[in-house]
Symmetry: D2
Subunit: 414 residues, 4 copies
Amino acid sequence: MRDSEMVELRGHIFDTGVFPRVLGDVIEYGGDYRIERLEPGRGPADESVARVVITADDAEQLSRILMRLQTHGANLVTPGSAVLRPAPMDGVFPDDFYSTTNLDTQIYVDDRWIEVANSEMDCGIIVTETPQGFAARTIAMSDVSAGDSIVCGASGIRVIPLPGTAEATRGSGQFEFMSSQVSSEKPQTLLVRQVADQIRQTKAAGEKILWVAGPGVVHTGAAPAMVKLVEQDYVDILFAGNAIASHDIEAALYGTSLGVDLSKGRGVPHGHEHHIRAINKIRGCGSIAAAVEKGVLRGGIMHALVSRGKSFVLVGSARDDGPLPDVYTDVIEGQRAMRAALPGVGFVIMVATMLHSIATGNILPARIPLVCVDITAATVTKLADRGSMHATGIVTDVGLFLEQLVTELADHQR
Amino acid sequence: MRDSEMVELRGHIFDTGVFPRVLGDVIEYGGDYRIERLEPGRGPADESVARVVITADDAEQLSRILMRLQTHGANLVTPGSAVLRPAPMDGVFPDDFYSTTNLDTQIYVDDRWIEVANSEMDCGIIVTETPQGFAARTIAMSDVSAGDSIVCGASGIRVIPLPGTAEATRGSGQFEFMSSQVSSEKPQTLLVRQVADQIRQTKAAGEKILWVAGPGVVHTGAAPAMVKLVEQDYVDILFAGNAIASHDIEAALYGTSLGVDLSKGRGVPHGHEHHIRAINKIRGCGSIAAAVEKGVLRGGIMHALVSRGKSFVLVGSARDDGPLPDVYTDVIEGQRAMRAALPGVGFVIMVATMLHSIATGNILPARIPLVCVDITAATVTKLADRGSMHATGIVTDVGLFLEQLVTELADHQR
Amino acid sequence: MRDSEMVELRGHIFDTGVFPRVLGDVIEYGGDYRIERLEPGRGPADESVARVVITADDAEQLSRILMRLQTHGANLVTPGSAVLRPAPMDGVFPDDFYSTTNLDTQIYVDDRWIEVANSEMDCGIIVTETPQGFAARTIAMSDVSAGDSIVCGASGIRVIPLPGTAEATRGSGQFEFMSSQVSSEKPQTLLVRQVADQIRQTKAAGEKILWVAGPGVVHTGAAPAMVKLVEQDYVDILFAGNAIASHDIEAALYGTSLGVDLSKGRGVPHGHEHHIRAINKIRGCGSIAAAVEKGVLRGGIMHALVSRGKSFVLVGSARDDGPLPDVYTDVIEGQRAMRAALPGVGFVIMVATMLHSIATGNILPARIPLVCVDITAATVTKLADRGSMHATGIVTDVGLFLEQLVTELADHQR
Amino acid sequence: MRDSEMVELRGHIFDTGVFPRVLGDVIEYGGDYRIERLEPGRGPADESVARVVITADDAEQLSRILMRLQTHGANLVTPGSAVLRPAPMDGVFPDDFYSTTNLDTQIYVDDRWIEVANSEMDCGIIVTETPQGFAARTIAMSDVSAGDSIVCGASGIRVIPLPGTAEATRGSGQFEFMSSQVSSEKPQTLLVRQVADQIRQTKAAGEKILWVAGPGVVHTGAAPAMVKLVEQDYVDILFAGNAIASHDIEAALYGTSLGVDLSKGRGVPHGHEHHIRAINKIRGCGSIAAAVEKGVLRGGIMHALVSRGKSFVLVGSARDDGPLPDVYTDVIEGQRAMRAALPGVGFVIMVATMLHSIATGNILPARIPLVCVDITAATVTKLADRGSMHATGIVTDVGLFLEQLVTELADHQR
């Protein structure tokens, strides 16, 4: 049998987003709910009331979910009394102490609700007797003394959410840690595995994987990883610019990228001219495919794409040298070529390019999942701010990301 | 008389946040609503239905709100038929063309709904006659020809939102531009004005303004601006570390900050020792206040605070040189001093410091509004990820921000 | 009469850059030098010897320059003996204590050189007598006791530079604070003033000022500032893309930028379509100039440029919507147009755009000074890494920078 | 037999750093030099003259080195005449075309030097006959026509360096690509290998490896990698704060970091309290070592350090919760403990922490090599700006970096 409790919500619970947040949290944290009563106010000025029964697998999970819901202002219909236990030693709380939020809080002691003074997060609540009755305040862990009366568990506690207005509450969660969507402080190996899973699912569904990549892939030394992905059929189409193709070909012909020796990590004399020489050579051949055919181009990402019969769309920009003969110098024609390549695409991976990521985001239906990998959080933010809210952002090093992705995809195959 | 229309929502509209988002958007965009019908599914598996009447001041505003609600899947109960108008010339849409989202879309033409092929945002919808009947697809502005039949206005259009799960939808808005909370791409002068307003309101309410500041304030040459804010009573308390105080005093004694001449923007010989010499001098005096009294310290932020009788709490860190005699070298004692200074604070401004901002965020009740100003978006993100979700982040240059704030506060006084 | 001392350098002082660094530092810090002796080793394996007489205006400046040169391994030919003074109180050094570097150091005491143990920067040197003679070690300020013997002044001190190889030393300065070229920790108001000075000098020389600008100018609310700069003849040519022009026109027609109301700082319903509608309107007019002439476009940056007869080159990219009729959709033609606009340009200012900054950097002679302003240090770094090493980078908020620049230029005129 | 050529330098070649840069480049790019003549100007106003013979293994390498030296103004004593060849087809240069810099350039044609008009980098030089004689200008690759006369090779070309002043030239290289020290656009796998090599060398020399680490190690899911490094004896000492130890212990006890489930990448209900509960538990045990002994702590980085008898110094900060009983709450005592742990350290690796990296940099002798790994370039820049110029910065993802480092160190062992 499972544990359950009834919570009540009152006030502007719809337009402030409180009500769905309560239901969403219950589901996300593995519980279940049943709406017992729902009296919506008709217009924006009217208050609403809802009562919801929350169910969880065991008492501890239920207690956690209830503590969570409290921060949204969903308090127990029958809250019970606060449980007090003495601190076992100086500077140590009882094991099951109630850990505070930074919201105003009340506790039920001696048959009435009393305010907890000095709201502060990550503290305990100490209860003392005064001539006027019981008093409660937050106390830091290092300030507690052995024997102090500390609130434990979750019963008899009420948290008052910030007075939400529709406007204020939109987008700003209530009390929560690590809720930002875009952050480098996420478990990276896990993210790599999730991308690998989606790649495999896409291939299993018979759909194409579209990559959008910038020259950082070559500069960070990740071209060999990218080549492996092409050879293992994980790259069906590449959208890119003149830069990644030029530097990839520069690396194949001269071993450098932007003049930096990729095997030593430093410049070679007059090496900046390598990329322009590489472009000149391919222009002389007529096209990248022709250069592959003539044996001029024998390695790298573009060579792998041509050899495996994969397609690519290179669209130019004002900063291009050359450009390579395959590059669309007219950007509107380039957009048309990109659009024409979309049918059949089931997953999009964008790495290390702002311009071509936004360009692709512009023409992509929202229903196609997309992942954007960049060392700069701003790239992901900008993509989202330009209408591609469905993008999953991964703020990480592109070179190491691709290395790990190859490993992850290979591991799974064995 | 105002315009109104009824929209209907069906499906998992509560736990996916769709319903409150609809109501919130109506309010945010200046409209009004009346819930006509609400049939909540009882548990997570059940579908809900809602009908809401939307009212706006005029037809254009209503049309805009309805286009907005469509992206949440709130479609008109009586959608009408799509209006078609010919493109006036090549590459130009009719004036009131319907501008697409990247969501799947249908239009009502010839008494039935037809799919719009090739979902793509910021396009028009072209309707053509085929042997099988009418067909619709998105078309880019540059591809339209004079006379093409283009969908105009908002009637007869239905947008299919992404199949939302509680998890997928949480936090990720649907189709929207510039929805990220933290971005440097915001109108900065406006943000400065808003901070100035809040400063004035706080003073008017008789509450204190707490500043939390890092050494970037001095390095960026903004100490004079900060001094003006102190002198005009806009700084009641300063929470900081050894660094800002040392470099402020270094600047007052030697004209440099971290050895950089603030009037020339470059280093002076062996100037790195200035800050350590400055600290030595103050240690010799016994305290910052004593140095002011003895006439040793005659300018800068710390001098202004002492002179105006304002309080400050300096808490040390492992990277401190010296430190200054006023610095709490024990961080737990420092936290206690910070807590003791909180009563009466009505507004908190954090500039250019990650450590002390998070330290302050840790002990601050959520009800006190706080603004965090930093050139790095990551500082603001980290603050929010550590429980201070109520922080308003401003990603901007701290030096120029303070200059503008002084101007803004002064302008208003005149 | 001025003070002077002779220093000696030995070893690989040419290919490691030590010798020129010594001469350069003398000049930079206001001293003078005379090369007394120079015996270059002929090949890379041979040691060189140099003796240089350093002159300064007074003893204190000379002492500072000599302390500086020590960190390059340029030690006094006649170093003298270390001066020892007692610490005046616990935790306080004598006033003129020698502040250490993190390089290995020796002091001359009792007629011989002794090693200073525990190299650590920003410390003092304490000398103690032991049965084996004098001993010296670094000591932190907080660890000194009243009466401790502390080394003061600069005489009798020898610093051993890191064993430099040509490779190791290249680019990495020795001990130095704030030597990085690109940092947001610089006095910003000063930088604004320097840009203002260069603008005035350029105009005074009868040369043109070329601006390269991205849409951030409009998003950050700085378009009015930019308009003022155009009206005051500080903008002769603008290189840009479709985005800034579209959003500027969007702002002029609808008051929004990317759908964000610039006067309120938040979105308007379905506002994302404003920019595409704005583009459609201008396409209907035929050109931006035609839209100005017809009275359709009455404000903003593009309007100001057209009205004042200034020129602009807009080059498209793959992410463009529309684009505006004035945009070169062929990037190679766009480059040609940019090249054609260069003659007469005497100063280039790049704000908030990576793509067009690099595109302009590509075609710009190195002799034309250029300033790159961006909130992201990476933009400036990338520009430099692509051959534009002569760029002065300013990492700051573009919106506030332009506001301050207008103020600075106006102040000067009065 | 090897190829050689004599170059001459004139002007302010010492204080502008030109002379050593020439010698350094010769060595770096694998050539050799012999100083034939050196006439230094005695004071800052005097010009110097130097003649240097450059030798290389073959003509091509010599030609590359000479092209490089040209950008410093070191031109051939006997430059020869420019070689002209016809472009083979439209838009393609001859194979060995001279690729331009953005510096002013002259070519020797028809027995005299003529200016190359329109300095622009990455172009070719076209020579045409005019009524006034030969004329030369840069030409973009896409603008060349079949048969155009294009300058090839390196002879007969003279590059005029920017008029260098001591001040202007300091720190700013001349024309160069990818010369910035801190950039994420570097080959990452190579950098990991270099760190692995230095770790092995340090251990082979019997020296200790000191790690300085921030909580990002745990948040990014890299704790297991760090544990492996400890177990393989690659971590002798850890300098850190309360945060990494708390979150590591949180992860060991609850599977979360800052409340984020590390195996799923998302929050657990009320999970923010995990870290405070973890701290409380360890405080109850008395110390981390006691918690390991009692079997309370059974995994993670701190457990590994205790189990393997490695030492750690945890120094607190104002933002600490708890803190853990092992944390020095007095920062000056913490600094003393850090200093006491330094003897024997031969290599320092700093990952994901600004505060403790700078704190360690402050007390570290410059002779101990150090590597700073962070996803934010600003952390590395700040470290360098605070006197630790000898730091090698790696801008990358900390989580993936540690994973790769483990792989690299393990691969080598097999």
